[in-house]
């Protein structure tokens, strides 16, 4: 199971990287989102996927899944969301100002 998740993470990272390397701003944002998902999965998986109860006391479980990666990922999700929102608005603004979303055109003046 762990191995499967890790391989899935690898595939997602590949796809995300490919998207980030493309020319269009929006695809770059899509790529970062995919990599964000992949990293979250990786963090959870690195805590070990041994079956146990959810980390809630009082459920009469003796064994819990690891709670620390969950807390870390929870933080990561929120920060990822904040950054994505900001980047999206930035894309929108960049498009409004320069009327293009092509990264090859958004490279500043030559010899600035």
């Amino acid at each position: 199971m762990d191995t499967l998740i890790v391989i899935l993470v690898g595939i997602l990272v590949s796809i995300g990287t490919y998207l980030i390397l493309s020319r269009h701003l929006l695809r770059i944002v899509l790529g970062t989102s995919i990599i964000g998902h992949a990293v979250n999965l990786l963090i959870v998986a690195s805590g070990g996927l041994k079956t146990g109860g959810p980390p809630l006391l009082g459920e009469r479980n003796k064994v819990f899944t690891d709670a620390i990666p969950q807390a870390l990922v929870l933080t990561a999700i929120v920060i990822n969301f904040a950054v994505t929102a900001l980047v999206l608005v930035l894309c929108y603004r960049a498009y409004q100002s320069f009327e293009t979303d092509d990264m090859e055109q958004l490279r500043g003046e030559a010899n600035e």
Binding site: G16, L19, S22, S33, L56, I79, F81, V83, V89
Partner: protein, 802 residues
Amino acid sequence: MITLYLFIFLPFIFACIVPFLFKYLNRQVHTGWFVMIVPLSILIYLLQFIPDVASGMTYEYTLSWIPSLGIEFTAYVDGLALLFGLLITGVGTLVILYSIFYMSKREALHNFYIYLLMFMGAMLGVVFSDHLLVFYGFWELTSVSSFLLISYWYERKSSRQGALKSMLITVFGGFGMLAGFIMLIMMGDTYSIRELIANMATIQSHALFIPAMLCVLLGAFTKSAQFPFGIWLPEAMEAPTPVSSYLHSATMVKAGIYLVARMTPIFGGSPVWFWLVSGVGVITLLYGSLTALRQTDLKPLLAYSTISQLGLIMSLLGIGSLAVYFGPGESGTVFTVAAYAALFHLFNHSTFKGSLFMVVGIIDHETGRRDIRYLGGLMQVMPITFTIALIGGLSMAGLPPFNGFLSKEMFFAAVLDVSKAGVFGLGSIGALFPIIAWVASIFTFVYCMIFVFKTFGGPYHPERLNRKVHEAPIGMLLAPLLLGLLVVLIFFFPNVLGKYILTPALSSVLPMMTPSSYDLKISAWHGLNYELLMTIGVILLGSLLYVVKKKWLPAARKFPQSLSLNHFFNEGLQGAERLSASLTSRYMTGSLRHYLIYVFAFFVLLLMGSLLLFHGIEFDFSNNAMINVFDAGLVICMIISAFTVLLASNRIVAIVALGVLGYMVSMFFVIFRAPDLALTQMVVETVTTVLFLLCFYHLPKLKKTVERIAFKWTNLIISIAVGLTVTVMALSANGHKLFEPITSFFENSYELAGAKNIVNAILVDFRGFDTMLEISVLTIAGLGVYVLIRQRSKRGKEHEAE
């Protein structure tokens, strides 16, 4: 003793007052009069040391600066330092006196005198400091103040270029010297030059001995304009003439000589030192005298002659270092005289070269011309200037009855001695020394004649000159007259100078010898010997060459510019600039994709490389949980949706597929028994998708049908490599579990924090700081979004209003 420090730092202290003097008193009195007090008082103060130092005493005072690092300003007064100190302050006084009449009151005099005082203080610091790092500090300060003085008329392009070139070359050498000093400090385990000399034996057998020597010599050669680093000196002639006279003939260029003389007890006696110092000196001597012949402008002519004379002094110091090798004894004594001659000529050169530069300044000032092709016949108009020029010129050429004659005789004696020394593989090569020296002296004679007689002799052409020519004011003539007087006086009474100033200086250059026991009398007439015959030959051949100069001088001046050292330097500098510009523009393309490729490539290379190199790849599947159908289905779903994002030709499809991916992730969180994560992921994914769609709505309508991503092999390879690296790394990390996790502590959350939800207890209790800052991130992002949108709409409104 605090007074010594007071006097060493007096120029710096006084420099702070200069702007006020200039601002409030310049109308009435030329600022230079106030400034002249400074070197004069230091000179008088230093004169008091002469009797004590001549009797073999030295003074040493320590002023603590950074005691924890062992850095202190130790002032050490011995013969050599005193000789330089007297030169700096003596010539300094005269130069300031001269500048009072040379520099107009309309100039920015406060700048001029501040730079000059800064230079003077730095130079005094160089010669009196015993601590290597403090020495280096003052050394660089001389470079900086020289830079400022050369570019004094900063509105001229040539001034700026000359200043830049001198800065580049001397600071380059200064860095080399610093490296050499650091090696010396490591070898001798002390910062003090005197203690290094005392530890000579351990240093000489150290592996860093030769590298340290080369580095120190680099500093000395660049500062003293030795071959091939001399090219900055002629261009430094863009400075006002008092500066050229002071810095570029009498004092700063002798800092390298001072360094070589100071270091002779440490490095002398090694063949490398002897060959480098004397060899480079002789080459510089010949090169300088040859190149000086080709100049038509008086100041560069004097600059090259300075280079040549510095080469002479340097070669004498190199020959003198043989005395260290031979040690006290008969053969050592012979070479002691060479070092003595070096110090003697050093003093003589400061006197006559200083006066010659002032003469050029007078000519420039009174005629408006400096080019000998326009000048001539000034003898009748400016008799006093002519007399000074004649004294200086003949002294430089090495004729009696001027001091240059004495030092040149001693120079010839030294090169004749070295040709017979027969150590360090001198053998037959040694015979080259007298020959080169003799040839160079002939050229020296010729350019001295050109300097004096092309300027002052011949027919007078007032129509070629810009101004009505008359003799300079007496104030301007005073300083060169005094120097000229010194030139003659030293010829008649050389032993006064020798006994009180030069002999103690010699005992600091060659401490192992006891010079007082040898007969170091300088005599004008020393019998009919080879030296005198050589001088007669110089005069005869030189006169002959001067008479027939029309036949060969134009040919010499046609020497191709493309082969000059200057040309190589300029081309090299421009080439380096072009190379770096083209390199930078090659990889700094401005394309985000390229930069990302660099980042990813380094990521892959470093991580993959180190994993392979340190055998970090180790898989361990034993802890794997079981896979059930549900998991496999989810994984397949995720892969499909990710590929859909990748391959979608419609943006809406891509976004929906991304949303699907996010919901799948939250499904995984459900499977992984993470209810909080699943909830958050679900909500966040929803909002993100909405945001994406919102953004889409504002994106270009005409581009709604988006073309497929151009298929690029590099992108594919890099992304697969990145994915592979992450996978391998993650699997290896799972295979290397070293310690038990600390989760068991947090399972006490009910006892410790009163919470049953462990994840939430971690977020708000155990690790509440993370959450606080995460909230700040969210706030800042929200503010950012608000500002971005609002600013836009504001600007849009302004736009409409227009």
